[in-house]
């Protein structure tokens, strides 16, 4: 359980970090929270020759509101999100996800951007942020570029991020009024990866019908996905029990999980539906201004 030999370098700015990435190429890995990378190195699944530790780059820390966006620096920790009143008030879906990610130790070190870069199919942030208006900004030798999260996530453990690039920030649109979101996760026990997860963001119209809805599913496909069929079923409708039951069934068909020690294909499909439905109920209640605690299933 000791990593293979590696070098360790500490850039002081994003530009310097990019220069190092260009210099070392595929031999290097960026170290932010290290909560996936270090265990992989100890298991020798990953053996980078150089670690570029970006934790000293002040401009990447924390989160802030920028107009109608919430901007997370690349070093924003899960715990920063969990503790933010701003997030709790405007983006309860993210508050849920931060509460449900791993354990206290991991939440104190691990970063949201790192979770997106790692793109674990069962990770919480790729699934949660897919239900929101999320953009990822990356810096590389040719400057910075910003891409929607849906485009950034390519496949299991695969993103658009080039070997010479690093994420600098993640921006999430703050939804306007009469809206509510929730993230539901089924884990075998506290701190585990999701067996299945779902993010739902609902916006209501004047009549209380569903004006807009975004539904994301995690851990039940090679990459998290938007449940478009279920979204289409709900959009513009009054969200009745019957309609939610239909959406639950639709989600089962949209999921394409693989079997592993966390569950069979059939069970994971079933769970995806159950979680979407429960997240919908919580999101709807929040959109109506009711207080709903994070779901612990």
């Amino acid at each position: 359980m000791f990593p293979a030999d590696f070098d360790y370098v500490v850039p002081r700015s994003v530009d310097e970090a990019v220069a190092m990435l260009v210099h070392y190429g595929d031999d290097a890995k960026v170290l932010a929270g290290g909560q996936s990378l270090i265990p992989m190195m100890k298991l020798r699944i990953a053996s980078p020759r150089v670690l570029i530790d970006v934790n000293g780059i002040a401009e990447l820390a924390g989160l802030r509101r920028d107009g109608d966006r919430l901007v997370l620096g690349a070093l924003c920790r899960h715990a920063d999100v969990a503790a933010s009143p701003l997030v709790r008030e405007h983006l309860p879906l993210m508050h849920d996800a931060a509460q449900l990610t791993a354990d206290v130790q991991v939440r104190n070190r691990g970063t949201v951007a790192g979770s997106l870069a790692h793109a674990d199919p069962a990770g919480d942030w790729p699934a949660a942020l897919l239900a929101l208006d999320t953009h990822v900004t990356v810096a590389g030798p040719d400057g910075t570029r910003t891409v929607p999260l849906a485009a950034f996530l390519v496949d299991a453990y695969t993103t658009q991020l080039g070997a010479n690039e690093l994420i600098t920030q993640v921006a999430v649109g703050i939804p306007p009024g009469r809206t509510g979101g929730a993230y539901a996760k089924f884990e075998r026990r506290a701190g585990d990866f999701a067996v299945a997860s779902a993010g739902v963001q609902v916006t209501l119209d004047e009549a209380g019908r569903c004006a807009a809805v975004a539904i994301s599913c995690g851990a039940v496909a090679p990459s998290p996905f938007r449940a478009r069929a279920a979204e289409a079923m709900l959009a513009g409708q009054a969200l009745s029990e019957d309609l939610l039951a239909q959406a639950e069934h639709a989600v089962r068909d949209e999921a394409s999980p693989f079997a592993d020690t966390r569950g069979s294909v059939e069970y994971k499909r079933h769970l995806a539906g159950v979680l979407v439905r429960r997240a919908c109920v919580a999101a709807l209640a929040r959109a109506r201004g009711e207080r709903v605690d994070t779901l612990h299933l």
Partner: protein, 809 residues
């Protein structure tokens, strides 16, 4: 000291071990550092089943920092194979087993080679440079596949993968079934799990010219002591056991392989060698509990009386023959649970597979036996339309039957099984819950109430009941020593005959000594860790078998009594009074107030332990004639009632263990109909551990073992892929419950003193791990009654529970 004269026995005195552990000052094997020490790493099989075509040190021998490489050829050339122990007594032909795989690998993680280097990372780097060529063979991961006529043989020399078959039978089972009103049958199963001690295996060997010292976190030092002595053919062996981070049965058997490998490396390199196991290594190769499948038939009368049981037990013992019958023979300890049933036949099959070998695990065999009885009690109740509690009550051993001899020869000294059930039902509010269930609502709430035994004090001759032809009698009965000493300065130290694995043995033993010698526990300390050269150890020297309460307590009590005698003799001489006029209080010997006045009125009235110490060790002129210097005594204890039934009679009746605690467990659960998740809403235990020496220590043992048993029932466990790869290499994947899933355990003590032990004590260790899987199973089945589901197998993962709802619907 009499039973009523106790100041400290029975009190929850503060832990003597906790301060060093909570401040990080415990001393474990990995904390020990020796000059010129090397660090070893083990190369393990990546295959479940393969022939080793060739294995040589390759480039590893010349890698940076490397001092030694041991390959299977070296092991064969330089060591002799392990002697088959009593759990291999059922082998048809002898199968030599070495510290590494030889010729074949039979499970993922089986040790193949060892490398030692000046640092641990260097050793791990060099591991990748050892050349091993494998020829993969089909992996056998189920007992069905293993027992198939055309199955690939795991041991060619055995000619079959069904390595052992046998049975025990008591009473007239056929007659019981002939007069039964009906037969209730069920196919039951328990899966593979482990106690996952916080500290994995650890060995440090110091090969000094005088002798070879092994520092090792083993539970039963005799196993590694004999292994090294025999494998290396050397007499000069010393084993030392410092602090140990949990045992639970894991650190008894397979650790000997690593002790031998590390010792061989130390001898070969002439340097101290440390080997510390990783978590993942521990998960894959340090031993699992046994997958057990039971086909059970119960002969019953329509009033709920169980006349007899027939059980066919298939044990998946993994890829080693060394612990072939370990889960079978341990069922003799609680073969009839708490019931007065007279007829039982247990057939066993031990089937080899390409999985990790099996080892004891918190109750070994006994959780399975309790699971059988308690699941069948519920099945009988369902079949007959009776209340499950009533069926249990109908069959329990009753108060007037104690001391009760079970049909297989165990003598249960005392108990109150009806009383345990009464209290458990009251504490959980059984009647109210049943009434609420009848009013009907949508919630899937279930209650389960079970009862089980906690056998204690091992008699290893038990196994001869199954293997009467065993040429060598395994350690019979129980003998264990302890030393107690008043130091020259008046403080007291004791040395126990067996190591501790974190169960507060220092605290508990000190309370015994405190009461006998009349000195507070804070002036008493343990002399240090276990040391084969210093500790007075007998056949019962084991942090296993629930031995401590019986043998070590008996020994330390006996040793303290001997020292007390010396103190009284010396003090009476010095104070010039009759010894019957003396009493010991707070480290001072003095006349009891009511005693006759001192004949020499101007002499001192009291004398302290420190004053006695100075004289006893350093002033012969003041000693009475014939007084042996010093204030120290060693005493070897054996169970006073050990002889009847110590060796099996011609019908196989034997006292497998000597004391029998018991407990009723009541679980209240709720099932989430959408996900299948089981939440334990309440968990109540009423426990009879006999006289408690330290109630808070007893509670700690109950909390830990109940939490584990509940976690086992709800999902923790090992999972293998079809190719024999272990899929649960980390604690995360293995799925042990965290504190968030573990319910609050509500304990009530209902102690019934044991008539045969020193202070009336019974075992208090693994007990709650024995009935808890059955309690959860019973409660979940009750919760799923709207679906008519039957719980037959563990673990009750959310998916399995969801399937039970789904399939039944």
């Amino acid at each position: 000291m009499t039973r009523s004269d106790s100041r400290y026995v029975g009190a929850s005195v503060r832990s003597k071990e906790a301060p060093r552990h909570v401040t990080g000052r415990g001393r474990f094997v990995d904390d020990l550092v020796l000059p010129r020490m090397l660090h070893a790493f083990v190369l393990r099989s990546p295959y479940a089943h393969a022939r080793i075509v060739s294995a040589n040190a390759g480039r590893a021998a010349h890698a940076t920092g490397v001092y030694g490489v041991i390959t299977p050829d070296d092991v064969v050339r330089l060591t002799t194979p392990f002697k088959p122990g009593r759990y291999a007594a059922g082998l048809r032909v002898p199968v030599p087993e070495y510290a590494t795989a030889v010729g074949k690998v039979r499970y993922v993680g089986e040790p193949v080679a060892m490398v030692a280097a000046s640092s641990r990372p260097e050793a791990e780097d060099a591991l990748e440079l050892i050349d091993v060529e494998y020829e993969p063979l089909p992996a056998i991961v189920t007992t069905e596949a293993a027992a198939a006529p055309d199955a690939t043989l795991i041991y060619d020399e055995l000619g079959t993968n069904v390595a052992w078959q046998g049975h025990v039978s008591f009473g007239d089972v056929d007659a019981a079934f002939a007069r039964a009103d009906r037969v209730v049958s069920a196919n039951l199963g328990i899966h593979r799990y482990s106690s996952t001690p916080l500290e994995p295996f650890a060995c440090l060997v110091d090969p000094t010219p005088e002798r070879l010292t092994l520092y090792c976190n083993c539970q039963n030092p005799e196993v590694v002591y004999e292994a090294i002595t025999e494998a290396l053919g050397i007499d000069g062996v010393r084993v030392a056991v410092p602090d140990v981070g949990g045992g639970f049965g894991q650190k008894i058997h397979l650790i000997r392989k690593y002790a031998v490998l590390t010792a061989l490396m130390a001898v070969q390199t002439g340097r101290p060698v440390k080997w510390i196991e990783d978590r993942s290594e521990h998960m894959m190769a340090a031993g699992h509990s046994c997958d057990q499948e039971f086909d059970v038939e119960a002969a019953v009368r329509n009033d709920g009386e169980v006349l007899g049981l027939r059980i066919a037990d298939t044990d998946d013992v993994g890829g080693s023959v060394s612990t072939l019958t370990i889960h079978f023979t341990n069922k003799l300890n609680n073969l009839f649970n708490t019931y007065r049933v007279q007829n039982l036949r247990l057939e066993g099959r031990s089937v080899l597979t390409n999985k990790c070998p099996v080892v004891p695990n918190r109750g070994i065999g006994k959780p399975g036996m309790c699971f059988i009885w308690e699941r069948m009690m519920d099945a009988v109740a369902q079949e007959l339309g009776l209340d499950p509690i009533a069926v249990r009550r109908r069959n329990l051993v009753t108060q007037d039957q104690f001391p009760y001899t079970t049909p297989n020869g165990n003598i249960i000294g005392s108990g109150d099984y009806q009383g345990l059930l009464d209290r458990a039902l009251k504490n959980i509010g059984y009647e109210d819950i049943r009434a609420q269930q009848k009013t009907g609502n949508d919630r899937l709430i279930g209650i389960g109430v079970v009862i089980g035994l906690e056998p204690g004090g091992r008699n290893a001759a038990r196994d001869m009941a199954i293997f009467p032809k065993s040429k060598q009698m395994p350690g019979a009965g129980g003998v264990e020593g302890a030393t107690v000493k008043i130091e020259k300065n008046g403080s007291v130290v004791f040395t126990l005959g067996a190591p501790s694995c974190g169960q507060s043995h220092e605290t508990t033993a000190a309370q015994i000594v405190a009461d006998v010698l009349g000195i507070p526990p804070d002036r008493i300390s343990a002399s240090g860790g276990w040391d084969s050269s210093l500790s007075p150890w007998g056949v019962s020297c084991a942090n296993s078998g629930n031995n401590f309460h019986l043998y070590d307590i008996g020994a330390v009590h006996g040793a303290a009594m001997r020292v007390r005698e010396k103190v009284l003799t010396l003090a009476a001489h010095l104070l010039k009074v009759d010894r019957s006029a003396l009493d010991l209080r707070d480290g001072i010997v003095g006349r009891v107030p009511s005693a006759a006045p001192n004949s020499s009125a101007d002499g001192p009235a009291t004398i302290t332990f420190a004053e006695l110490g100075k004289i006893a060790y350093a002033n012969q002129a003041l000693l009475p004639e014939g007084f042996e210097g010093g204030l120290e005594a060693t005493y070897y204890h054996s169970h006073p009632h050990a002889d009847p039934g110590m060796l099996p009679d011609e019908t196989g009746r034997v006292r497998a263990q000597y004391t029998f605690g018991s407990a009723a467990h009541a679980a209240l659960v709720e099932v989430d109909p959408g996900t299948g998740r089981v939440k334990v809403l309440r968990y109540v235990i009423v426990s009879d551990n006999g006289t408690m020496i330290n109630p808070s220590v007893v509670d700690g043992q109950i909390y830990g073992s109940a939490a584990h048993g509940i976690s086992v029932a709800l999902g923790e466990g090992f999972v293998y892929g079809d190719d024999g790869q272990l899929l649960t290499l980390t604690l995360l994947d293995y799925g042990k419950s965290t504190t968030l899933e573990t319910p609050r355990i509500e304990i009530e003590h209902h102690p019934v003193p044991d008539p045969y032990t020193t202070l009336g004590q019974k075992a208090a260790g693994e007990g709650a791990a024995i009935p808890s899987p059955a309690a959860i199973a019973s409660a979940v089945e009750n919760a799923l009654s709207p679906f008519g589901a039957r719980v037959r197998r563990l673990p009750l993962t959310p998916e399995r529970v969801w399937n039970l709802m789904h399939v039944s619907r």
